[in-house]
Amino acid sequence: MAHRYILAVDYEKCTGCHLCELACSIKHHGVVNPYLSRITIITKPEIQASAPVYCLQCNDALCARACPANAIYFDEKTGAWLIDYNKCIGCRECVYACPFGAISLTVKAEPIKCDLCGGDPECVKVCPHDAILYGPEYEVVRKLKKGKAVGIVYEVLEKGVEVPAGNRVKDAEEAVKTLYRIWEERKKLNI
């Protein structure tokens, strides 16, 4: 059996720039509006600590269970729960049922949720920090494990992500070295 594809967010990498929200809304609605996005970044703009809210495409989806019109169905091809708007009666039960707050409403009170862009999620492509992962389950989960394993201690929405100072000093020294190297290369170019 082929591996199921999942979408996940590496919280430590997300800096809260909101580009995924903007891309999602323009892709699905043709307008730029974070309130029409299927992924929502809850953040304090001044610190690097954000909690992306997105559809986890549950195995046993409460939204589908709650839907009185049976409008939410599973798409085997992409692994996403989709809304059949021909059946949807706009009762918002799915919004209340979702334990993660992943279903939003448009101004017309239509529920909207992540459809994984038919298997090619736009947010994954736009994320500048590669914080949004999409791929076979085992691969994504392994990447997430790696993220946790570097020993990052963080309190989301309180202090931000704290990386041990030693690493950062090393990174900064590395950046300075790169700077000198590019300088040298640039000199040789003689523009």
Partner: protein, 647 residues
């Protein structure tokens, strides 16, 4: 209207009246938004010769035509008014989320006039605009202010506001956005003088795009460039503007010398700051995250965005090399709402004058001013914010402070039109650097005629692109500094007017999207056409940029700026040496050439009627032609006891 929010909010605080009007299509097409729209509005609304701290002054806040769209880094808010620091056009360009969220609420500009009788703040939520009581907010530091407003209105809002420095009319107080993003030139004092503490906004309407598919395709192409660029990924993401410490020659001990990468003392090198860093953050829709989040164990505080300018002005220029203290001072400037460059330069000037004996303990109230003395400096910053003791004088800001001390001190004020970025030899970068300071429409400043000036050490400049541009007939600053400067001034004007960041990397390829697709503004024209549905071309964009720049020059003419104010500063000790005299001669030749190419009168530096006619703004000529304006000598200063004091 596609692209634009399509509405302008006019608020008269004296009468507590709010009027929302549609943005006129003509204005939008002629000035785009952001800086363009602000400068135009100020020229229309500000009468020449008024006191910047009086209710007559106008505060304009605008976001730019591409703000809040999916094009990355479109998160800059432009805050403009008649500057209480310089007495000419004063505008600050700040990051944060305000710009995008204001656009999502459906607005392009907020115009504030008058003065409220009691402290007020403004609450904007889509179609609702309310003036609300801010008695409980008055006196709060910026961090507390933002947190309080988030408690009231929710965490998906953005806040622009002022700290104690703005309330105390410190002449270099800034407009602070979302705690840590500052718009300078004394705009914070204008808020204070209007009894306006903050504007909080929530927007759920979003931005309509004329051709979303094309626009998104272009925006993605643009973002791809950052993802591939080695400099962005390996340096800028890691140390942000701190790399400038090695590349931009910070001044040392009041511009006694400039520090090259090898002279940088222990304590203010980029890795030193990494010791205190706990994370990185950014403005809305930015893929880079150039701002650091730092922790100060000594004070048990967190701060954000210790940029190159704060380290250079508060640290190097005052000879302070205590890393944590420099960060603390930067954080204090954010909390009180003050501009770090003018703050640092004013402190450095005071120390220099003290060392020279031009000011003494009698002036300072017994406080000794010593180089490298971080503890006293921290105390002084607090005294400035609340205008206490000697801080009251310093709070007048750089040139005004020197003016109060006397002519001996004024000789050492290295400013152009009241704003300082130090003094430089004219031969540095073939004269383009000093010329850019002289021709800037808000006083000596590194962001008006940016980046050609940094060509040689601008390591992010794509060599392939440079070759292409030069072959395409773009002026090379080594052969034609004046032509090169005019092009970069156009680039900066357009960037400010579309609402994009030009500060986050020291180069303009990122500021003007898709510039690497020669010719110069073709990429931007394509983006604007896709976003707005109106036909934009490269030629039209050049015309828009020139229109905005000339309207700003005309504004300053009305404030009394004459040709002599295009002079560059030098220390009095060397000004009469043959070398410097030769440099000055060369500078004036360049100024003449510049004025000629800008279509101004070479003798008076006033924009010519025919130039203005060609740009479609002949009415501006009626305002400035054949009129006498009293010669500029800084803003009108108040007697020092008239300001609010203490906390």
């Amino acid at each position: 209207m596609y692209g634009w929010g399509g509405r302008v909010i006019y608020i008269d605080l004296s009468r507590e009246k709010v009027v929302v009007q549609p943005l006129s299509e003509t204005e939008a097409k002629m000035y785009l938004g952001g800086r363009g729209l602000n400068s135009y509005r100020l020229f229309k609304m500000v009468k020449p010769g008024i006191d910047p701290l009086s209710p007559d002054n106008v505060l304009c806040i605008a976001n730019g035509v591409l703000a809040g769209t999916v094009l990355s880094m479109t998160s800059r808010t432009e805050i403009s008014s008649l500057s209480p620091l310089t007495g000419i056009l004063g505008d600050g360009n700040a990051g944060g989320e305000f710009s995008a969220i204001l656009k999502h609420a459906g607005y392009d500009q907020i115009v504030i006039t008058g003065r409220a009788s009691k402290p007020k703040y403004i609450w904007i939520e889509d179609d609702t605009v309310e003036i609300r009581d801010a008695s409980d907010l008055w006196g709060l530091k910026v961090g507390e202010l933002v947190d309080t407003l988030r408690d009231i209105h929710g965490d998906d809002i953005s806040v622009a506001g002022i700290g104690p420095a703005g309330e105390h009319l410190v002449r270099f107080a800034t407009t602070m956005i979302d705690k840590y993003h500052s718009g300078a030139r004394g705009t914070g004092a204008v808020w204070g003088s209007k009894n306006l503490k903050a504007i909080a906004v929530r927007g759920t309407k979003g931005v309509e795009i004329a051709d979303p598919e094309t626009f998104y395709k272009l925006a993605k192409e643009d973002e791809e460039w950052f993802k591939k660029n080695e400099f962005v990924q390996k340096i800028y993401k890691v140390i942000g503007t701190h790399y400038g410490l090695l590349a931009w020659y910070p001044g040392w001990r009041y511009y006694e010398k400039y520090l090259g990468p090898e002279d940088l003392p222990e304590g203010i090198r980029p890795p030193d700051f990494a010791k205190y860093e706990v994370g990185r953050t950014q403005c809305y829709s930015c893929p880079i995250a150039c701002k650091d989040v730092y922790k100060l164990p000594r004070w048990n505080e967190y701060g954000v965005a210790s940029e190159f300018e704060s380290i250079f002005a508060l640290g190097a220029n005052n000879a302070v090399t205590d890393t944590e203290a420099v960060l603390k001072m930067e954080h204090m400037a954010d909390e009180y709402g003050m501009d770090v460059i003018t703050l640092g330069d004013t402190l450095a000037l005071a120390k220099f004058l003290y060392e020279k004996g031009i000011i003494t303990d009698t002036d300072t109230g017994g406080i000794p001013l010593r180089w490298g003395d971080a503890e006293t400096q921290i105390k002084l910053i607090e005294m400035i914010a609340y205008r206490e003791g000697f801080g009251n004088k310093l709070a007048e800001g750089y040139r005004n402070f020197a003016k109060i001390i006397g002519p001996e001190a004024l000789k050492y004020s290295y400013d152009v039109k009241g704003l300082s970025r130090g003094w430089y030899h004219v031969d540095f970068l073939n004269g383009i650097f000093t010329l850019a300071h002289a021709t800037s429409t808000r006083g000596a400043d590194h962001l008006r005629g940016r980046s050609w000036a940094y060509w040689e050490n601008d390591i992010n400049m794509d060599p392939e692109l440079v070759k292409k541009l030069l072959e395409g007939g773009l002026p090379d600053y080594r052969k034609d500094p004046v032509g090169a400067l005019i092009v970069s001034e156009r680039a900066c004007t357009l960037t400010d007017s579309i609402g994009r960041c030009k500060g986050s990397i020291n180069t303009w390829p990122q500021a003007i999207p898709l510039v690497w697709k020669y010719p110069l503004f073709k990429g931007l024209a394509k983006l604007l056409t896709a976003a707005t549905g109106y036909e934009f071309t490269e030629e039209k964009l050049v015309e828009i940029a020139d229109r905005i720049y000339l309207i700003e020059m005309a504004f300053n003419v009305r404030q009394g700026i004459k040709k002599k104010h295009y002079a560059v500063p030098f220390p009095p000790e060397i000004i009469n040496t043959p070398r410097i005299q030769a440099e000055i001669k060369r500078h004036w030749e360049m100024v003449d050439e510049y004025l000629k190419r800008r279509g101004c009168d070479v003798e008076t530096a006033v924009p010519k009627r025919e130039t203005l006619r060609k740009l479609g703004i002949e009415w501006v000529a009626d305002e400035i032609e054949n009129k006498e304006f009293p010669e500029w000598d800084g803003p009108p200063l108040w007697s020092l006891d008239k300001y609010p004091h203490g906390r």
